[in-house]
Amino acid sequence: MAFLDYEVLRLIWWVLLGVLLIGFAITDGFDLGVAALLPFVARDDVERRLAINAVAPTWEGNQVWFILGGGAIFAAWPLVYAISFSGFYLAMFLVLSALILRPVAFKYRSKSEDPAWRARWDWALFVSGLVPALVFGVAVGNVLQGAPFKIDDDLRATYVGGLLGLFTPFTLVCGLLSVAMLVLHGSAWLAVKIEHGAVHYRARAIGAGAAVLSIVLFAIGWGFVATGTGYAIAGVADPLGPSNPTRMTTVVQAGAWLANYGRHPWMVIAPALGFGGTALALAGILLRREAAALVGSTLAATGIIATVGVSMFPYILPSSIDPHSSLTVWNASSSASTLALMLGVTGVLLPIVLIYTAWAYRVMFGRVTTAQVVANIDLY
């Protein structure tokens, strides 16, 4: 395994970090989207149950992408885990609180027929979808801008700045883009998964709006990134060096986030996929090709997230107050042996996960109908 030197391992784990985030966005993303648009897409109890049962059997497994994301960042990028989650402290608290509500709301809503009880859990579901979608986007915006932290020579990080500082015009655009993208994905899922009827048609209408909004917001975001602050390594990076951010220097440059597209033109695939996927989703919705819409929204999420990754490469989390503390692919990873071990484990286990996940989707294949929702006592 000589070709798997430290540099290659770090690159693979950078790609796997992207795979995890994209995996989360395209699986749990539609659950978040469905929850966020629940009050709008479904008006009465039977309609809401249709929407809820379109995701109920599989959302739990999808959510593991989020939990695995936490674990894998911890294992492969410990500095990123340590600094991002403690830095975005209250934002993380909001996300976790919202996500805590979700399993409970799914399960407990159906335990009583009382309309007030159900209305309360519908609210909880709405919050559990909207808040994480928004905060994740805002967080990504802040990662692009750089976060206010500093690392000392013991590699202890100090973070300055609070919750409100996270919200700038640019990060809000990112947050809204994230909401629009996941609502589009959720609508496409509902269009595929629910029988033709009121909910299905509303989902398509909302999805079309969300697709247009996604394209506009992605373009605005791109404009911000093209002219705004970016970071670049001063001198030569050492891809084989120890994971110690204090040994590298960074310069801040306007527009530096676009430099990679000049160096590696093939990276343009990512933003192209972001725009193209969204356009495909829109076309699918308008032409009543629901499967194409879902493929489109999946590609859109993939492209938009990959755009952030490749624009920033090799940076993962730059520091706005002390650029030399910035975390990159070359200075924030685990040791080579941990990366190699985790790669082996992932190589064996991830295919197995994908196989039984595919089986679970196959068992639950087919559109959810009003008749099922009314007759089957196992449904929520």
């Binding site: 340590a82 403690s86 608290f93 509500l101 009880w117 973070y159 639950m364």
Partner: protein, 522 residues
């Protein structure tokens, strides 16, 4: 009261971990019981077993979601509240958490959806397979979490790297096959089996007392009696004392549990009860049984159980040795090639963590006064009365559980489920006890590890994030309010489901004297 960031971070960790562990053990045990019940259904083909499986699966589901919801906080809390811990040991500690997600939690969460929604879509055998996979996933999940936790108690297979200022893996199989982790795994899942059995036993006893769903209740009781007897024997006999002789910190934990202020000649006696006093470093009104402790902890008549005073002396030496390592690290930070510093570091690196204990009193541990070293050495003693009493209460409940399940097993085997009403009442009353024991078990394990976050490697007070007390108080209040509300709702839903009974699946008509179902809308 003025709380520091570390106090509040610890409080939050204690609250969320103890809260998480109200739900987890029931998930662990009930998932296995569901496999047993559903296997009986598939093998005998009798509908009553389907009723039993589906009813307990409903209880499982109500509980499961809160286990998941509270687990979310746990997964990210190391990053949010223990940032330096995450940087310092993430290279080792992160791997088991990631593998837990990949190997165990994915399995559990994917199959649990099919378990609830697949009754109509899967064949009987397929559904049993799905239930089985949920149980496998749940229990594997516990394994990996306890591998991570075991490493905090006994950090094997890793070394400090001066280039990256953190611990890094040298031998992952040592981390995985850490004897402390293995002992903890068996002990913890067994505790889960006992908790689930007590719930099933207690609820069945309740139905039998009320004369409701008796066919359902008798069978449930029989499964609980057998499974609970095995679980309670395992949890006591395979307790994790065997890991207590491995490291200085584990020895300290054992000494604190026993209030053993000084090393006793082998084989040591066990202190049954007494009043430990930290000021005078003695235990008053002590009742001791000879030999027993030596047998339990060293599995021999010749092994010594080291006392706290002797362990503190040893800590003293290790702090002095650690100061040399610390000085060497300061040099190596700037000049990684300094040969003399490298040699000193290699010689003293296993005591580096002990020097860090001094950071509570002085910014530069190399400049500590003898008085500081003395105080830091005594810091390695955890709270003796807390350890002493928590352990005794936990162990006492363990023995009670053996008695309870032995009786239940005899009664069930003799098919006299309804005959001994006094026993049924005890079975109902005993329900909260194993939860109490499990929580106390974590108190012993984690407070007994203090002052360390990672035994001998990283003191807890250094492991925090750069947060303010106000931020921590905000999230503590927020999570407590949220968790508190959800706990109340969950308990009411479980009580309502119990009062409701297995009514949807049972052909027999509902009894006229139905219990009032607690209103859920309030």
């Amino acid at each position: 009261m003025d709380f520091s960031v570390v106090d509040l971070s610890r409080l939050q960790f204690a609250l969320t971990a103890l809260y998480h562990f109200l739900f987890v053990p029931l998930t662990l045990g009930l998932s296995v019981m569901l496999v047993i019940m559903e296997s009986l259904y598939v093998m005998t083909n009798r509908p009553i077993w389907r009723v039993i499986t589906r009813f307990w699966a409903k209880i499982f589901g109500i509980n499961f979601v809160l286990g998941v919801a509270t687990g979310l906080t746990m997964e990210f809390q190391f990053g949010t509240n223990w940032s330096y811990f995450s940087q310092y040991v993430g290279d080792v500690f992160g791997a088991p958490l990631a593998i837990e997600g990949l190997m165990a939690f994915f399995m559990e969460a994917t199959f649990v959806g099919l378990m609830f929604f697949g009754w109509e879509k899967l064949s009987k055998r397929q559904h049993l397979f799905v239930t089985f996979m949920v149980a496998v996933g749940t229990n594997l999940s516990a394994l990996w979490i306890l591998v991570a936790n075991g490493w905090m108690q006994n950090p094997v297979g890793a070394r400090f790297n001066t280039d990256t200022m953190r611990m890094e893996v040298t031998d992952f199989s040592a981390v995985l096959f850490n004897p402390v982790a293995q002992a903890k795994f068996v002990h913890t899942v067994s505790a889960g089996y006992v908790i689930a059995s007590v719930l099933v036993l207690g609820v069945s006893a309740f139905y039998l007392l009320k004369g409701r769903w008796t066919q359902f209740a008798k069978r449930s009781m029989t499964v609980a009696a057998a499974f609970g007897l095995a679980g309670s024997l395992s949890v006591v006999v395979l307790g994790d004392e065997s890991g207590y002789v491995l490291t200085d910190n584990q020895k300290m934990k054992l000494a604190a549990i026993e209030a053993a202020w000084h090393t006793a000649p082998a084989p040591a006696g066990i202190t049954l009860i007494g009043l430990p006093d930290f000021e005078t470093r003695t235990t008053r009104y002590q009742v001791e049984i000879p030999w027993v402790l030596g047998l339990i902890s060293t599995r021999s008549l010749t092994g010594e159980v080291t006392g706290m005073s002797e362990l503190v002396l040893k800590a003293h030496e290790r702090i002095s040795s650690g100061q040399i390592a610390y000085r060497a690290v300061q040099v190596l930070k700037r000049t990684p090639t300094d040969a003399a510093a490298r040699a000193a570091f290699e010689l003293h690196k296993r005591d580096l963590g002990y020097a860090l204990l001094l950071k509570r009193y002085v910014a530069d541990p190399a400049a500590a006064t003898p008085a500081m070293i003395d105080t830091a050495a005594w810091d390695t003693v955890p709270s003796v009365p807390l350890m002493f009493w928590s352990f005794r209460l936990m162990a006492g409940i363990g023995f009670l559980m053996i008695a309870l399940f032995t009786a239940a097993f005899v009664i069930s085997t003799a098919r006299r489920h309804e005959q001994y009403r006094w026993f049924l009442r005890i079975a109902v009353a005993a329900m909260p006890l194993p939860w109490l024991a499990a929580e106390l078990g974590w108190v012993v394990a984690e407070l007994g590890r203090q002052p360390w976050a990672i035994d001998g490697v990283l003191p807890t007070f250094l492991a925090t994030s750069s947060l303010t007390p106000a931020l921590l108080i905000t999230t503590i209040v927020g999570f407590t309010a949220l968790y508190g509300t959800l706990a109340v709702i969950e308990v009411r839903l479980i009580l309502a489901a119990i009062a409701h009974g297995p009514v949807e699946d049972l052909p027999e008509p509902a009894p006229v004297t139905a219990l009032p179902i607690p209103s859920l809308a309030a």
